[in-house]
């Protein structure tokens, strides 16, 4: 369905495409992508091929601008975290989770408001994702997706810290949802790997124990 006649492959999801065929097209090498969104295309292509292959997904191609690489990965994380938020919406209500907590050690205040606020967990989740979406799409900080200002790269760390709390809240309070989601997407796994690899978060903040899987990520992150 995606394949046009002969040699040219048109990577399009035409209306009527079945869900299983969505984005199912032959991989395109990054160097052949002439789009300004090549990095996003490349990352999504890697995830689509095998979401569990965290190492490969996070392997930055040569001659790739690191700022853009991190930025595009963070966009992808925030985007996929929507899936976790959707699941949490069904279970996590202001009645059950009045505060954004992971362990009992911290109560996280929602930074989306003028004065940080003790939002219920679900609001915190939504606000954090919405705020991240606004920041990462901000014309002021990220006007371009092919080059990122150094000053804006520092913003990525705080976004990482905030969205990580969604993982931790889900892990500690909605473990079933977390596990289902993680089994499907390997998202927390990839995220932990990502922030560790690029030093975006301090290790003591990575409180979700990553399952010792085939990728041996925890060992590496602790190493």
């Amino acid at each position: 369905m995606k394949m046009a006649d002969g040699s040219t492959i048109l990577r399009r999801n035409r209306p009527g495409t079945k869900a299983k065929d969505f984005c199912r097209w032959p991989d395109e090498p990054l160097e052949e992508m002439d789009s300004t969104l090549a990095v996003q295309q490349y990352i999504q292509q890697l995830i689509k091929r095998d979401p569990s292959n965290v190492e490969l997904i996070l392997t930055m191609p040569e001659a790739q601008d690191e700022g853009v690489w991190k930025y595009e990965h963070l966009r992808q994380f925030c985007m996929e975290l929507n899936g976790l938020a959707v699941r949490l919406q069904k279970e996590c209500s202001p009645a059950t989770c009045t505060q954004m907590t992971a362990t009992d050690q911290w109560i996280f205040l929602c930074a989306a408001h003028k004065t940080p606020k003790e939002c219920p967990a679900i609001d915190y989740t939504r606000h954090t994702l919405d705020g991240a979406a606004c920041l990462l799409n901000s014309n002021k900080y990220f006007p371009s997706r092919v080059s990122i200002k150094e000053s804006s790269v520092t913003k990525l760390g705080s976004v990482c810290r905030r969205v990580y709390r969604i993982f931790s809240h889900a892990y500690f309070h909605h473990r079933r949802i977390f596990d289902e989601f993680e089994a499907e997407t390997y998202l927390c796994h990839r995220f932990t790997h990502f922030v560790t690899k690029y030093n975006l978060m301090s290790k003591e903040n990575l409180i979700v124990p990553i399952n010792v899987g085939e990728n041996a990520a925890p060992g590496e992150s602790e190493a």
Binding site: R12, F22, M79, N82, H113, D123, R126, A133, C134
Partner: protein
């Protein structure tokens, strides 16, 4: 026998014989006169009059000769033949070898008459040739004046150009250009001499203007002196007009006649043997008047004249230099002739004092008249040229204006339609410009839909979310004319990309279909909601489950929605029923999956569904039966490229519009199912279509990154906007019109949505 009878007549009846002799000569003469009158007197009454008189004169002379001959006949009675012809003397010599006094006398007389005859013939020939010279001269004058006219025209055009440049300069810099030579032809022409005398500091162009005008004036004086006056001017102007293509044939013929008449007139004066004094014709009259007029002009302006003299010499030189192309021989001829003619004219002045006086009485008026006439003519010509220049310039602007007007009108109507009149006043010169950029989605925006009334829209993205935007809540972006809008609300329920959107006519409810096969129903939050308000679970008011694969098409009609899915079915829903699913429509396997669906807007209970087979099928929603199949056999040879990406129904007409993978937009007649129109609309597949609420304009989006606005009336593209970037091979996913406000929007694979105003 004829000679015999002539001889007898000559012998018997002297007067008759004399008459016969005169008749012979007169006959020759009259025939020559006929030639003359034919060649010269074609049109001008005066010319023909002059000729006839000269002919009469010649006749008179010949008559005298004839009288002598007859007298001879009387004397030589014995000479049997009595021949008036050349044979007479021979016969006499043959019969009588000695010279007799009467014989000698007869011979001398005969010879004399012969010489006379020849002389008169030469005269006639000379007159003819002089008439021809005059004609050629007239033509030359015509050409000269034509040339000067053209020179003037060039000057005019230069002037117009200068004016245009000045105007341009003024428009560009807001001030008058530093050196602007005002060129006022009428004034200068009217008060020519005085201005030349006083104007010592006129700029060069002006000087050249006046010099050539002086030369022109001189020429006119010469012309006046030789009798070329108004007629020649008429001829000239006629020539000019004919050259400019303004003349009709009748006028041209008239001018030719005038020319002939003029030639005749000059011929009459040129012969100068005796007829000219008696010439009561108009030309002579006018030349007299003209001569006296020029004299009259010279007297009061003597002072000026003297001061001008040098200039005139220069002018002459310049003019002659201008007329170099005529060749030196002709020039000298011309000088001679004009001298001659001048003399003649002065003769006229001297001899025809009466006439001159009579003319002088009306001289001033005539001068003024002539002056006025000439001035007027010049003015008219100037105006004509001005008009031509202005006209052409004006037309250029006008042409542009009309084009602009058309497009203006189009946009105007469009904006009026879009606003329902509210922005109609501001709609003039409106083109759609990107104003709002909606940046918040992490991935391609698959669909967008406007609120029916508010400046609010909802976008659906492959990042699994929908976002609500209020265009009145904006943040001014730095260094950019466009405004950034932050989303007010993010709708999260889909577990995969959201592919399509629908909105209830009231604008309270929104529906979204996703790759997960669900249709989610949303109650729209207030457009003034705080983006970071508490989570309100009631916004998500339900899920319509039934499709087993991606929902690709969704559209609403009153409280019903119809959806199409990759599972091959089209479903009709009534979301607020206990059992929301009303009906399912399935086509044969051959049609493939439906790709897009729309309600037929002018026919209740009909829906049109586009299938992967590139066919559209109109269903009756009540019976579930196929009503019409939209297909064109000749068009459908090889369906592969004709995949339909989007189908929309015209809001008022029974027309279905389809956007195809083969870059076409096609228009179908719903009643007959036939193809009405097919056009290549984009450089790449057309992905999306939207028709404005009044059905006048069509908006199309394509993977070539551009959206195009089409006039549905004539199917022409009104505007093209490059709006989005590509992700993989996809670019624009959706376009939309606001139903009541002047907004259009596009959604792209680059994760942006743009709103144009």
């Amino acid at each position: 026998m004829g000679t015999n009878s002539g001889a007898t007549a000559g012998i018997n009846n002297k007067p008759v014989g004399g008459g016969a002799g005169a008749g012979v000569l007169g006959g020759v003469n009259s025939s020559i006169g006929g030639v003359l009158s034919n060649s010269l007197g074609g049109g001008g009454g005066g010319g023909s009059g002059g000729l006839s008189i000269s002919g009469l004169n010649a006749g008179g002379q010949n008559a005298n000769v004839g009288g002598l001959v007859t007298g001879m006949g009387n004397v030589g009675d014995d000479s049997n033949n009595g021949m008036a012809g050349g044979g007479g003397p021979n016969n006499q010599q043959a019969t009588t070898p000695q010279y007799t006094i009467p014989g000698i006398l007869h011979f001398i007389q005969h010879e004399w008459s012969r010489f006379e005859l020849e002389r008169s013939q030469w005269d006639v020939d000379r007159a003819e040739l002089q008439a021809r010279i005059a004609m050629l001269l007239g033509e030359r004058k015509c050409l000269e004046s034509l040339k000067s006219d053209l020179t003037r025209r060039i000057k005019m055009l230069e002037y117009a150009l200068r004016q245009e440049r000045a105007k341009f300069y003024r428009l560009k810099y807001g001030t008058d250009p530093p050196q602007l030579n005002e060129f006022k032809p009428s004034n200068e022409d009217a008060s020519l001499a005085g201005e030349v005398a006083t104007d010592s500091e006129v700029p060069y162009s002006s000087v050249s203007n006046t010099t050539w005008r002086q030369g022109r004036q001189m020429l006119r004086q010469y012309l006046a002196e030789i009798g070329y006056t108004d007629n020649i001017i008429d001829v000239r102007s006629n020539r000019v007009r004919s050259i400019l293509g303004l003349n009709n044939n009748a006028e041209h013929d008239g001018s030719g006649g005038g020319l002939g008449g003029l030639g005749g007139g000059t011929g009459g004066t040129g012969t100068g043997t005796g007829g000219e004094n008696l010439n009561p014709n108009i030309n002579g009259n006018e030349s007299n008047k003209r001569a006296s007029e020029t004299e009259g002009r010279h007297t009061p302006a003597k002072k000026v004249q003297q001061s001008i003299d040098e200039i005139i010499v220069d002018t002459e030189a310049a003019v002659m230099a201008n007329f170099e192309f005529l060749g030196p021989n002709e020039m000298s001829d011309d000088d001679e002739i004009s001298d001659d003619l001048e003399m003649v004219a002065t003769d006229n002045d001297d001899t025809d004092v009466k006439m001159a006086k009579r003319a002088k009485s009306g001289k001033d008026m005539l001068t003024e008249d002539l002056e006025a006439e000439v001035g007027e003519q010049l003015l008219n010509e100037m105006n004509l040229m001005n008009e031509e220049v202005d006209g052409s310039l004006g037309l250029g602007e006008l042409a542009q204006l009309t084009v602009n007007n058309e497009s203006d009108g189009a946009y105007d109507t469009n904006s009026k339609d879009g606003t329902g009149g509210s922005a109609g006043g501001a709609g003039y010169r409106k083109t759609w410009n990107a104003k709002y950029t909606l940046r918040s989605h992490f991935d391609g925006v698959r669909s967008l839909i406007f609120h029916p009334e508010e400046p609010v829209l909802i976008t659906a993205s492959e990042d699994h979310t929908l976002k609500l935007w209020n265009l009145q809540k904006t943040v001014q972006a730095k260094k950019s004319a466009s405004l950034d809008v932050e989303p007010l609300y993010t709708f999260r329920a889909h577990t995969g990309p959201v592919l399509c959107l629908g909105m209830s006519p009231s604008g309270e409810t929104c529906y979204s279909g996703g790759l997960d096969g669900n249709i989610e129903c949303w109650q729209l939050p207030s457009p003034n909601i705080d983006p970071y308000d508490c989570y309100e679970p009631n916004v998500h008011s339900g899920t319509l489950e039934g499709h087993t694969d991606a929902v690709w098409g969704l559209t609403t009609m009153q409280s019903n929605i119809v959806s199409c899915s990759a599972d091959g079915t089209v479903k009709l829903w009534s979301p607020f029923n206990k059992e929301p699913l009303l009906r399912t429509y399935s086509a044969s396997e051959a049609e493939g999956a439906p790709s897009s669906v729309d309600f037929v807007r002018n026919e209740v209970d009909h829906i049109v569904v586009a299938y992967n087979s590139a066919h559209c099928i109109v269903y009756d929603t009540e019976t579930g039966k196929q009503v019409v199949r939209l297909e064109a056999a000749q068009e459908m040879s090889g369906n592969t490229g004709k995949f339909i990406n989007k189908v929309v129904s015209h809001p008022t007409l029974p027309i279905t519009i389809t956007a195809h993978e083969d870059r076409h937009i096609r228009f179908w007649d719903n009643t007959s199912g036939t193809l009405i129109h097919s056009m290549v609309a984009h450089l790449e597949p057309v992905t999306s279509l939207a028709v404005d609420a009044h059905g006048l304009y069509l908006l199309s989006g394509s993977h070539d990154c551009s959206i195009r606005l089409w006039n549905l009336d004539n199917k022409t593209c009104v505007q093209e906007i490059t709006a989005h970037r590509k992700k993989f091979d996809e670019s624009i996913f959706d376009v939309a019109f606001h139903a009541t406000k002047p907004y259009i929007a596009s959604a792209g694979a680059d994760g942006l949505a743009k709103v144009f105003v």
